[in-house]
Structure formats: C-alpha cells, structure tokens
C-alpha cells in the first residue's frame, strides 16, 4: 500500500472528523461566529485534501470525479471499497 496514499487518507479522515464535530456544535449554537470560522477553515482544508487525493489516487466522492483529467472514469475503474479501495 502506498504510504503517501494512506497518509493522505488518514489526514482526510481527521479533517472530516473536525468538520463533523463543528457542524454538530453549530446545530445547537447556530450563531457562534467563531465556530463558523473554524468550520469554514476546515471545510476548505477538507476540499483541498479531497481534490489532492482525487488527482493522485482517484475520487473519494462524486464531486471530485473528473473523467477528462485522467482519460477515464476513475470513479468506476478504481477499486470499490469492498475490493480494498477506500
């Protein structure tokens, strides 16, 4: 297994966890501006990491799937989760 791939995937997991935590906090504190700033920061970071992962190893979500860039529909050709993909 590619270690950079694993590292990036772990990073995405951690950042996404922060996003989920912040959204849950905001559910009960919807006017907390500081929390919104935290959220925006980590959402941007997550999108960036997701795009980087998609470019290198294939898309994790459909919105990062870009068939033109890699001359094939990686969404379908990369391993599915039950085949050892992510």
């Amino acid at each position: 297994m590619n270690s950079d791939k694993e590292r990036l995937l772990h990073e995405i997991g951690v950042i996404d966890f922060v996003v989920v935590e912040m959204t849950e906090y905001l559910d009960t504190h919807p006017t907390d501006k500081e929390a919104m700033e935290y959220l925006n920061h980590y959402v941007r970071m997550k999108n960036q990491a997701m795009r980087e992962y998609a470019m290198k190893y294939g898309p994790l979500r459909i919105s990062d799937a870009d068939g033109c860039r890699q001359n094939e529909w990686k969404w379908a050709t990369q391993p599915w989760p039950w085949e050892g993909g992510c």
Binding site: V14, I15, V18, M22, Y25, H29, P30, D32, A35
Partner: protein
C-alpha cells in the same frame, strides 16, 4: 447536582411554560443565571457547551473522539466514587 460554578441552562423551560408551543431556542437566548429556582426536582439537566478552544493536535483529538477538550471524558469502567 452540583450547581456551584456550573452554567446550567434549562433548555426546556420554555416548553414547560407553554407545552403546546414549541419554540426553537439556542444558547444565546438565555442568560446563564436565570431560572435556577424554577428547576423541577428529579429531572436531568444538560449544561450548555461553550466554545473555548479545540485540541491543537487533531490526530490526538481523532483518537480521543472529540475536538473539544472539555468533552474529553474517558470511560474508566468504574462507578462514581466520592
């Protein structure tokens, strides 16, 4: 229940006053020291969380299961002992 120094805001106070009207209330709608004398006994209350900071080490937060230091409550498998 320990009230000293603890911010406890009765989330459902509005509901108790008028059970037929559901009003969406958030933390900012309350001042913290109100309503203490109106708490019915034998009920459970959840203090509101206030954003202080988040863990600097997010890997650590991921492992712990929360990004909020004040919510780090490791389960020790023991009952509460005085």
């Amino acid at each position: 229940m320990c009230l000293s120094g603890t911010v406890i805001v009765p989330y459902h106070t509005i509901v108790l006053k008028n059970p037929r009207v559901y009003e969406r209330k958030t933390m900012q709608d309350y001042s913290f020291n109100e309503y203490f004398d109106r708490f019915p006994i034998a009920m459970a209350y959840v203090p509101w969380q206030h954003l202080t900071n988040i863990f600097e080490n997010l890997d650590e937060a991921y492992r712990i299961g929360t990004i909020f230091p004040e919510l780090e409550k490791p389960f020790t498998g023991r009952r509460c002992v005085k």
